[in-house]
Subunit: 328 residues, 2 copies
């Protein structure tokens, strides 16, 4: 078996975020579930955008954010995801490439536009997401670059990838390639509603294909349909490590023989929670890829999450390597 | 004469900003003048973008930022500027319209793409700008909506508008329309190099067409080719009010019979100075349009500038009305 040349390859929906402030009345008027990710079609995306305030555009996507975070920490990374050859696709590709992340997936040259996520941030810094998946629907098993996946210690999959139908098969293909090469596979559960859409399949996946599981409290209990402690115990029967975030309450990391609780890192002002879970995963995976102890993985995870919630958007604004060094 | 239904109409280059961090070596390698705005062609814009780190996209343009700031303060506003009917043009138009700003200028349906400005922010929060003017070159005198200009107390022109050749004539047309309707005309000198490109013409303009002049110290002394105090005295011979910013040193406001110095408003952390001058003008014009005393105009100007330098980009992140109210 070759020595892995990369730390982590992420596979996910390649999305550009469009972020604006909104008040509670706006969410109510549009029937949004606060804090959730809702799938919308292009017409709805246009209607919502027309009613949205002045916005900021930047690359997003759950696994995209995680991989960008890893690159910002200094990890060697790759990404697989589908954009179209349009302006937003160009922005997404630029931001991945310019962070030094390998990105072999070809642009879609026709079909739906690059995916976008309209994100509304309320005064409590909570984000509510509305995603038009667009070109993500064209990610196929053939896009699972075997050489790239085999070259990475860990392949990281976002649960959201389960939404576009063709991507599910791609998801399984990627996990098989990784395990055949004796690599590790990580999964983020992404969102409570996403868990509800794919619960049976996620349980089967966790049992057969997943080594490291990332979730927040709500996603974990939705997956196992039981209370937190029981759900966590059940998770550790299925996977090697489960890292569960609890917002301001920090996180719990459970392995078969060990359990660690980690405090959230302090932030002067929480501006926007977009990407908090994604960057938690980034810090944690950085630790795992570098053989750190679980408590240290958790500390790096909390720091990466702290940087991301201190500004708009789910991509680091300053190099996380510097951010972490200044706090160690 | 009809009562003005708007406070301020801004006319400028309609630009989407692409903002990233960069280090001093990057500026040096690309031969950039730190802190300046340099005009570049499309090929250079693409080459620079390819070498740029992960970025954030949001609407910009000097007068666009000023008018967005005025709208965020609660002013009644309009904007004239040219975008193409492309993705970036759609973003610019959305952000103007969604802020409640009247924007009658039609999209260009062919020709160069919507203008973009590649902005590099160094560790000292200074911004260095590289602008591809694109569709701005298609702004013509016919775009000067007489009804809109006549309806506003003040018409605000950015000096940058002097760069695209057709826009110069548009600039004069707008000033004539405004003065014929007995409105006021304001000019921002924009940039030292811009002043050097158009010095003789700016002096003639200031003498004949400008009531309110905005500049920073460097632009003012470049215009009059003399020291600060003499330059300021000369400016007040030409215009009714000159508001001159001095960075952390605050600003000086000079009228024929009165002079006021205003301290810069405190900021916890200066993140990015993009838009500082634009938002200073926004706060100041808000005060003028509402018949405030010069010292109060300066206070509003300093507060608006303080909000904008505390985050990435030249558009307010929180309603300036609330920001100012919390500090009064």
């Amino acid at each position: 078996m070759q020595t892995p040349s990369l730390d982590v390859v992420g596979i996910g929906n390649a999305i550009v975020d469009i972020i604006a402030h909104a008040d509670e009345a706006f969410l109510k008027r549009h029937g949004m579930h606060k804090g959730a990710m809702t799938l919308i079609d292009e017409a709805k995306a246009e209607a919502l955008y027309a009613d949205m305030g002045p916005a900021v555009q930047l690359s997003g996507g759950s696994a995209g954010n995680t991989i960008a975070g890893l690159a910002s920490l200094g990890a060697r990374t790759g990404y697989i995801g589908k954009v179209r050859n349009d302006t937003l696709g160009g922005i997404f590709r630029h931001d991945i490439a310019s962070a030094g992340i390998a990105f072999p997936t070809a642009d879609a040259e026709d079909g739906p536009a690059t995916a976008r996520c309209l994100i509304f941030v309320t005064a409590d810094a909570q984000r509510t997401m509305n995603t038009y998946l667009g070109a993500c629907g064209n990610l196929t098993p053939d896009d699972m670059d075997a050489a790239l996946i085999e070259s990475a210690k860990i392949t990281y999959l976002e649960g959201y990838l389960y939404d576009p139908p063709l991507a599910q098969e791609a998801f399984h293909r990627a996990a098989e390639i990784a395990h055949r090469a004796r690599r590790k596979v990580a999964l983020s559960l992404s969102d409570v509603f996403c868990v509800e859409r794919h619960r049976a399949e996620f349980l089967r996946l966790a049992d057969n294909h997943i080594d490291y599981l990332f979730a927040n409290e709500g996603e974990l209990t939705a997956l196992f349909q039981t209370g937190f402690d029981t759900a966590l115990a059940q998770a550790t029967q299925l996977v090697e490590i489960a890292a569960i975030t609890r917002g301001a309450g920090g996180s719990v990391i459970a392995a078969k023989s060990e359990s660690v609780t980690v405090a959230a890192a302090p932030v002067a002002q929480i501006v926007d929670t977009t990407g908090a879970g994604d960057l938690y995963a980034a810090g944690f995976l950085y630790g795992l890829a570098n053989d750190r102890r679980l408590a240290e993985c958790g500390r790096l995870a909390s720091l990466a999450a702290a940087e991301i919630i201190s500004h708009f958007g789910g991509r680091p604004e300053i190099p996380l390597k510097d951010y972490v060094a200044a706090r160690s």
